[in-house]
Amino acid sequence: MSSDKRQKAIIEEACLFAELEIQPYATEFDQQGALPRELIEKMAAKGYLAASFPEEFGGLELDPVYYGLLTEVIGKACCSTRALLTVQTSLVGETLLRWGNKHQKEKWLPLIARGEKIAAFALTEPNIGSDAKNVSCQYQKNGDNFIINGRKKWITYADIADFYLVIAVNEDKVSAFIIERNSNGVSTKPIHGLLGARAAHIAEIEFKDVNISKDSLLGPEGGGFTYVVNTALDHGRYSIAWAGVAIAQAAVEAMVSYARQREQFGKKIFHFQLIQGMIADAVTKTHAARALCLKAAEYRKMQNPEAIIETTIAKYFTSKIALEVASDAVQVHGGMGCCNKYPVERLFREAKILEIIEGTSQIQQMIISKYGLKKYHCSRT
């Protein structure tokens, strides 16, 4: 079987899996504020938690195009479940693959793949969001070991994670560490009352005099932001870009289905041109978003250096249109769209989150405008 056929078959199977095992329960997960452990185990058994990893680490070896499609399939069914892929595979897994030493890769990647260990990426802090270079979580050398002190906040899957990829600073050196949850001095506190990602076990983490060995350092000391954070966020943005497509696609389908069955003024509402206008815009935006993701995917596959900016553009656009499409889907549903008996209510809430995580839309705009000011300056050509 060709690589393309093999990967296509995995996506087809994932569609069925999502339809049977995830989508029917998405509202329940959202309302209960938790993703069941059995689902995580089932996803691990299918290889989805290591979808892009090499086979030697238990992965499915999906290339960026198919990994993106998998993210869309899972994300369309449930955002919190998709967030598990974003964290395990993209943010932590890919970063370990890129900057982990042999021992770290051999130890952690198969555990992630088998779902035996859940990971979380701990960058954001109570007072540090977009200004990520200025983290305040401290590390100090103590002989051959490191001591970590500080707090992290809004960390997806932190409440059930077994280990954390933590970004900390020592004077002007920002470094990355792998810290196990059962280390002395690590505690977590779940965060409730969230707009979205309610089943993604988001929590605050406190590190109090946590003593870790020198083997816990990921990448070079001082390379925590430049290499580790930038790698993680690039992969995270790629995942979120597809998450936007997923929400938009789910919203389009909900909008169309409802417009075809709902009657007002004696006829189905899809006959009304203002409804058709919203459907047309939603379809166009969703197709455009997917095209941007596929372009970024091809660049990533080719290891083109412009893959980073194309990923940023895709993330910015898809998160923006996901919210617009989900908003119009609510509008088409009218009063029903404001009720949690219909999925568009959840999609609308989840879409807003995408404009904030892995770099706000405003940070993406700064990056994209800087790129545009260089790239499209006519007198240079």
């Binding site: 900057w99 030493n101 270079k133 990448g219 070079p220 390379g223 932001f225 430049t226 290499y227 930038n230 790698t231 690039d234 080719m302 290891q303 083109n304 250096p305 893959a307 980073i308 990056i367 800087k370 000011l373 260089k374 790239k375 300056h377 007198s379 240079r380």
Partner: protein
């Protein structure tokens, strides 16, 4: 285009500063002089790997390997001769 020209061209294309009069010398420290920002470092690593068919490892991540056109060129030469 020879390797050093490729590197110079790539950095110029991706300079963070919007200034048509900026002059980039081969020995200028591109990070300290603000020609590029820290986000560019990953882009540079990807460029070096894909363009020159080498693998940048953890131990290569010394900033001195990447902080000027000349040092990047010397680093690539060293890696290609390993």
């Amino acid at each position: 285009m020879n390797p050093i020209d490729k590197i110079r061209f790539f950095i110029k294309e991706n300079m963070a500063i919007i200034n048509d009069d900026a002059i980039l010398n081969d020995t200028d420290n591109i990070f300290e002089q603000g020609f590029v920002d820290s986000m560019f470092a990953m882009q540079l690593v990807n460029f070096v790997e894909s363009e020159f068919d080498i693998k940048v490892e953890n131990e290569d991540l010394d900033i001195n390997n990447f902080n000027s056109v000349r040092n990047i060129s010397l680093f690539i030469e060293r890696k290609q001769h390993i």
